[in-house]
Amino acid sequence: VKPPPFGYLAPTTVDDAVAALHEAAGTGKVLAGGQSLLQDLRWRRVHPTVLVDIGGIDEVAGISVTAEEVRIGARVRHRDLEHPEAVAGPLGTLLARAAAHVAHPPVRSRGTVVGSLAWAHPASEWCGIAAGLGGRVELASRRGRRTVPVAEFLVGPGRTTCGVDELVTALLLPRLPDSVRVAFREQRRTHASFAQVAVAVAVEKDDDGTVTRADIGLSGAAPTAVRAETAGVELCGTCGGPDDRAHAAAVAARDDADPVAEPHAGVAYRRNLVDVLLRRVLEEVA
């Protein structure tokens, strides 16, 4: 790694961190796990004057739970979610299923969940889950604190609505009742490569077997991770039978996906991946 010259600060409070970002006036970068930042430094795609290392800020450490939400602090690493018990209920199961697909173990022990949101890679597993479940992102700056729905936070590949003076302090995900069934699948070319497409679902049925909730998150299916809203609507109100599932999957591939072509993952193939993977995960939770 041969980064361009940069300064380095290690604040211990969010207030100090956002003050540093404010001071840097758009030329600061936040260092958490370094999974993406170090790559971009190595390729000299970014030239920050200062790195603000948040590794010593206790306010952004750990996972906490409220009545409605699970708050994943900015220091929580991918590996912290590898075990389903890390978060209670089906959400923990879903997060653990996804964690196993994030990079490989050494990277999982450094990279952070919130870092994945902040870097907004379209194929990010966490972005897909956060979008699908309708999560929120918590931001802090000298101007104050705010939360933004993930759908409004992710705006394109590597692009978010995070201000240059803002720090993403946490990801907030809705808690899932035990009656929700979850599944996750991913297509990638080797065990450690990026997802070509990943699909996460959380489905709930009422006592009559009617689907009442169908949260579907797609990674790698569009310029940014998205919630498959149309497919979810199509699935709700049905009994989630094979034809319903196939229909929802086809709708997601056609209407919710907006794939970008890459080598070995063209638009048509990516749509196919959405279709097949979604059909398979829906079958898992049927």
Binding site: R44, H191, Q196
Partner: protein, 756 residues
């Protein structure tokens, strides 16, 4: 994972495996690579490289770079003085090129300037501040585009030179009547994708001018070649250049030329009078280092109704990139055009074609994997067309008598192809898989399964000109033995195997033998390590030298004792004769015997088999079983050759399923995330394997040894591709091209085979 490493111990060495001599050093992080060598005052290098595939270079402005603190010099083509053009190792010389671009850049990554600074960080900082004035030109990304396009080395520079750097035919053209009277003729086009060799250590060189000599440390396969190349290009006496190869982290064929960067580094060191070091980074290695493969192939095969192959015609248009460093590599494909089969008429035409991509050079297998792939897929097409079992078709055509002269000019030394085929089938348990395949074909829910075979023959030792190797064995007064050899390990266990080889001849403990290689001051001559030549050529040279040393020692003892030579015996490093006190050989020091071993090339061969299943909706190919039976002649060290087989198998898997250098419309690689885009297989991708060897001794070699090391790269891709074709009978085989990524396979399945 089921690594059933079945096979019979074949080694001449019977001692138990105790690990390699080099392991302690290499596994504890105490090896010494070029990047570990930093003499005082050493300057670090960053190259300024073309960011585009093709452009007119209107100017290079270094002012903003030169003034940065810590920057000692920035040199461009204008500063190269009398440095000659880059030596072209293989193939004819024109068109030649300068070590740094002058008025045109022809590939993304072509070096344009060199920055020398106190450390690499400052060098990179400065390199980013060298301003290139570029006027873009349309790229010529493929051989097909190049044949139609404007000359890459046209206009004032080298008028009249077309884009075909080399064209050569092998064997007489197949008679028209042969195609006409054949029961079946099949034809197909195959693409050999570009691969990035990607050794753990990329290129690295350190040049220190001292005492009117150039001291060079380089991660290199051919130190004597580098010494000659540098001396010639810089206009200095070869005796004034010393090349040492310290520990090296792999090469795979991509580290034997005298690269442009090496000339520039050496020139800069001489100019500034200080040590200069360049350590290539991973991004440079992916974009600017040489690549392997890169061929567009068209093969036709004719056979009679019994499946006897009558003729093969192979046309190869090889992408050799913008600099014709490796024009000679694809000739290997032409020479090998009939593989292991007895075919009366064989013709190949090979064209090496310039494109605006990084140069193509040798990569593990270097022309033979390409040939084996075209032939083996072609043979399967014939089998399908004739409705003959692919195993049976191969049986009917494999060469059974040796030596065998092919129409393309090869003389195969020895083989028992049927034995290798039988061994592979035995390890595979073919009937079981055929039964499973039939079961699945009757079950619409089951994923399709296929079995693929590949018989191959390759060539080891090299071509005329390098079919000679130097070895010497010297006994010192303390009884230790120094063995010198002209090969150059980049990870092939020479320290272990060659010391044992010499020790076995002398009947002494291997710990008494020290190997010296890859130092041109210590070893007077050598042809290095590539073409699987080390054991076969260097091992034989050491064997002959050690054998001669025993004779020389006996003669000297006989002379000292005024005894009959016949009365003097050698036993475990001692000379004995009746009535004499045993004489330690060390007492005869100085005692040194040299040998230059020469022989024809050898032809390792074998048979690979793969079983795959395909996810019909996603296109994923899962390898369920991979069988490799290789014949390396007599094996010197079973564990070491197994390592070579395993490593080459994994690289073969890479070509079959994962690796590819995608190019944009101009020929620049599309790998924005480096090795996250160029996917190398890892341990997690290795399927269940079964390995075995047969061992027909090489007739032209005192050890019976043939080369080992490239086999898996040759056998794996066609075996897997044939298995995928076999799994998908309704799919057009022509749509199944390497690498067989899920998208490629899925797309092929969307376009069912057109029935004629």
């Amino acid at each position: 994972m089921d690594h059933a490493l079945q096979g019979t111990p074949l080694g001449v060495t019977s001692r138990p495996w105790t690990g390699r001599v080099e392991d302690r050093r290499l596994l504890t992080g105490t090896g010494t690579y070029v990047a570990d060598l930093a003499p005082p005052g050493c300057l670090e290098v960053a190259f300024v490289r073309s960011p585009v595939a093709h452009a007119v270079l209107d100017g290079v402005v270094i002012d903003r770079a030169r003034t940065l603190p810590g920057v000692r010099a920035v040199l461009t083509a204008a500063d190269l003085g009398d440095v000659c053009d880059v030596p072209v190792t293989l193939g004819p010389t024109p068109p030649s090129f300068r070590p740094l671009a002058t008025d045109r850049v022809r590939y993304r990554g072509e070096p344009v300037a060199i920055v020398l600074a106190d450390d690499r960080y400052r060098a990179d900082d400065a390199a980013a501040r060298v301003d290139l004035a570029l006027t873009p030109l349309p790229g010529i990304p493929t051989p097909a585009a190049s044949l139609e396009g404007p000359p890459l080395y046209g206009d004032q520079e080298n008028p009249g030179v077309g884009n075909t750097a080399l064209e050569k035919e092998f064997g007489p053209p197949v008679e028209d009547g042969t195609w006409e009277r054949a029961a079946v003729v099949v034809g197909a086009s195959f693409r050999q994708q570009l691969l990035a060799p990607t050794s753990l250590e990329a290129r690295a060189i350190l040049v220190a001018p001292q005492d009117d000599r150039l001291h060079v440390w380089c991660s290199h396969q051919h130190p004597h070649g580098l010494k000659q190349g540098l001396a010639k290009a810089l206009g200095v006496a070869a005796a004034d250049v010393r090349v040492v190869v310290p520990d090296a982290g792999g090469a795979f064929g991509a580290k034997s030329p005298t690269f442009a960067e090496y000339l520039v580094v050496a020139h800069a060191a001489r100019l500034l009078g200080v040590p200069v070091r360049w350590v290539e980074d991973r991004t440079e290695a992916l974009h600017a280092a040489t690549r392997g493969r890169g061929q567009d192939q068209r093969i036709r095969l004719a056979a009679d109704a019994d499946g006897k192959i009558l003729a093969i015609d192979l046309q190869v248009d090889a992408d050799i990139g913008a600099h014709p460093l490796g024009s000679g590599i694809p000739l290997q494909t032409g020479l090998q055009a009939s593989g292991p089969y007895a075919v009366p008429e064989v013709h190949a035409r090979v064209r090496a074609i310039l494109t605006t991509t990084a140069p193509t050079f040798a990569y593990r297998g270097a022309g033979r994997p390409e040939a084996a792939y075209a032939i083996e897929r072609g043979v399967d097409l014939l089998a399908r067309e004739l409705n003959i079992d692919p195993v049976e078709l191969r049986r009917r055509n494999l060469i059974t008598t040796f030596p065998y002269d092919t129409p393309t000019g090869r003389r195969y030394d020895s083989a028992d192809h049927l034995a290798a085929l039988d061994k592979a089938l035995e390890l595979l348990d073919l009937p079981r898989w055929r039964a499973e395949q039939a079961r699945r074909r009757d079950d619409p829910q089951a994923w399709p399964l296929g079995v693929g075979l590949a018989c191959y023959v390759e060539r080891s030792g090299g071509e005329p000109g390098i079919l000679v190797e130097y070895g010497s064995v010297e006994v010192r007064a303390d009884g230790t033995v120094v063995a010198r050899v002209g090969t150059s390990s980049t990870g092939q266990s020479h320290e272990t195997v060659f010391a044992e080889l010499v020790a076995d001849v002398l009947g002494i403990d291997p710990a008494r033998v020290r190997l010296v290689e890859a130092d041109t001051d210590e070893v007077p001559e050598g042809n290095g390590s590539f073409a699987s030549r080390s054991a076969q050529m260097g091992g034989a040279a050491l064997h002959e030298a050690a054998t001669a040393l025993v004779e020389e020692a006996r003669a000297r003892a006989a002379e000292r004792w005024t005894a009959d030579l016949d009365a003097v015996t050698w036993r475990e490093g001692c000379l004995e004769a009746d009535g004499r006190a045993p004489l330690e050989v060390g007492e005869l020091a100085p005692l040194r015997v040299e040998h230059r071993f020469t022989s024809p090339a050898a032809f390792p061969y074998g048979c690979y088999a793969a079983v795959v299943e395909v996810d019909p909706e996603l296109g994923d190919v899962q390898v369920l079983r991979l069988v490799a039976v290789d014949d390396y002649g007599s094996v010197l060290d079973e564990t070491v050759t197994r390592g070579q087989t395993l490593g080459s198998i994994v690289q073969g898997l890479g070509q079959a399923l994962y690796e590819d250098v995608p190019l944009d419309a101009d020929g620049a690689a599309v790998l924005p995330q480096g090795l996250l885009d160029y996917l190398l297989p890892t341990a997690a991708e290795v399927p269940p394997l079964a390995l075995a060897e047969t061992a027909v001794p090489a007739p032209d070699n005192p050890l019976g040894a043939k080369g080992a090391g490239e086999a898996g790269c040759i056998g794996v891709p066609p075996a897997i591709a044939n298995a995928v074709v076999d799994a998908l009978p309704g799919v057009d085989p022509a749509a199944l091209q390497l690498p067989l990524t899920p998208e490629t396979v899925w797309k092929a399945m969307q376009r069912p085979r057109e029935r004629r």
